[in-house]
Amino acid sequence: MSGAAVEVVLADAEAARDFGRALAGVLRAGDLVLLTGPLGAGKTTLTQGLGEGLGVRGQVASPTFIIARVHPPLGDGPPLVHVDAYRLESLDDLEALDLDASLEESVTVVEWGEGLAEVLAEDRLEITIERPQGEVADPEAADLGPRHVTVRAVGERWAGVELPH
């Protein structure tokens, strides 16, 4: 069922936000995006751009503590549901999160959802972000360095859709 895969290299956090903004351009209500990558990969950064692109309310920040945050639309687009499955053992059904927005009406982004969130939808974008590994000479530069991003489109929904690259 796996469709096209797009690979991009994002030079910095601004590029990650730009990519998120561009990605928002192809997303619509009902879409599911899974973000995978180690601690500090830039999953939330990419989602910040995505939120800007969708035009939703609020500062998109890590939802790890709150598990899921609903950002209502400022215009007439879909809301953004930003989920962090980092602390969850299972995610059989998004209903368990008691969200005040449904999967069908929202763009849903799940961080740390690999192996958990696939059951939510047959159609989805699976985004993997790899960051540079190991110690950095200048600790201030720990978050710097290019991110290798792979976007894999899964399911009918994405047939013929051109992904940003």
């Binding site: 500090g40 920040a61 709150i66 598990i67 609903v70 602390r87 008691d98 960051r131 590994q133 720990a142």
Partner: protein, 352 residues
């Protein structure tokens, strides 16, 4: 015989069911009774909070916790003059349980209902401990979900969000580093304890958004993502080299970086805004490195520090009742009974 209004506060935004009664005297807010029930042990088994479990735990705890708080206050429901409840931000299910209970009580008792902001609560709780606030103060609210700097001209009608974390909350960074170091959930208190055994100068970790170039746009904002990544990469490098990770030194150096950034940026903000009183609140205000560093540097900067005792650092009903009492004292309009809960309630909206 006192006639000052008695405010019942209900807090259910996360895993603590808190109920408290605060009397809104004209010149002070007095905590007269409180009770808290926690489902954190149930969540610890799962390595994290499960919203469904939290909702059910609130539902089961609401009645008993309410009764305990009333007993503690030596009051009955008929004595209650107003109800305050957390309307957001927080987990939708748990918030809904608290809001439903509050609405039912408001209707049954025919008293006004105030839906209040969870993040302003930890700032307002200071009024129970240190007396009513001066006209202008700075509030740093730090927890697992929030790291926010507020300028408070009036705790109900004049809260301005100066800045917030751009990525992870301070407590969240602690929980993630805790997991990285193999400590149990929630990692915060474990990292704190371990940090006290280590050398805070052992490893130089970054101080986010403290560079001169960041001051124009982000003087009041925080960022802990770079710090978290630096810790992850430092630990990765040791593990890849087959070396033992000096856990206590990593924890101490990390905790020092967090406390240093929080305190330095907050005091700089006080100086810039010409404010001489600082309130620190929220779950992370229990952090020992933060408490010590804040006390030390506030004293040096001539800033009066109000930091609540540890029992008010975790979520509780007292902070919500305190905020409700502040609303009652000012005569602000109550919330409608259709009061919605809002998981991402904006911080400048203190009451709904």
């Amino acid at each position: 015989m006192t006639s000052a209004p008695l405010v019942l506060g209900i807090e259910t935004s996360c895993d603590e069911t808190g109920v408290a009664l605060v009397r809104a005297h004209p010149d002070r807010s007095e905590l007269v009774g409180e009770a808290v029930a926690s489902s954190v042990d149930e969540h610890a088994r799962f390595g994290g909070i499960i919203p469904e479990i939290a909702s059910r735990a609130h539902l089961e705890a609401m009645g008993p916790t309410l009764r305990r708080a009333l007993e503690d206050a030596g009051a009955s429901l008929e004595d209650v003059d107003a109800i305050a409840v957390t309307a957001g931000p927080g987990l939708v299910g748990p918030l809904t349980v608290g809001a439903s209970a509050a609405k039912a009580l408001a209707v049954a008792l025919d008293v006004p209902l105030y839906g209040v902001n969870h993040v302003i609560g930890p700032a307002a709780v200071g009024e129970l401990v240190h007396g009513l606030f001066p006209v202008r103060l700075m509030a740093l609210v730090v927890s697992g979900g929030h790291t926010t700097l507020l300028r408070v001209e009036d705790v109900v009608t004049g809260v301005t969000e100066l800045g917030s974390t751009l990525d992870d909350a301070a407590g969240e960074a602690f929980d993630k580093v805790g997991r990285l170091l193999g400590l149990p959930y929630p990692g915060g208190p474990h990292v704190d304890r371990l940090a006290r055994e280590g050398d805070p100068r052992a490893i130089r970790f970054p101080r986010g958004l403290t560079a001169a170039k960041d001051q124009e746009r982000h003087a009041y904002d925080f960022s802990f993502s770079g710090l978290k990544t630096a810790v992850a990469r430092w630990v990765e490098a040791r593990e890849d080299a087959g070396e033992e990770v000096p856990l206590a030194d990593v924890a101490a150096s990390f905790a020092d970086a967090v406390a240093d950034v929080l305190v330095a940026k907050t005091i700089a903000a006080c100086e810039r805004e010409g404010i001489d009183t600082l309130v620190v609140g929220g779950g992370f205000s229990a952090n020992s490195q933060l408490r010590e560093l804040a006390a030390e540097r506030c004293a040096a900067a001539g800033v009066t520090l109000r930091i609540p005792p540890l029992r008010f650092c975790t979520d509780n009903g007292a902070m919500i009742a305190a905020l409700g009492a502040a609303a009652v004292r000012r005569g602000v309009a109550p919330s409608p009974l259709e009061l919605p809960v809002d998981s991402s309630m904006p911080l400048e909206l203190v009451t709904l």
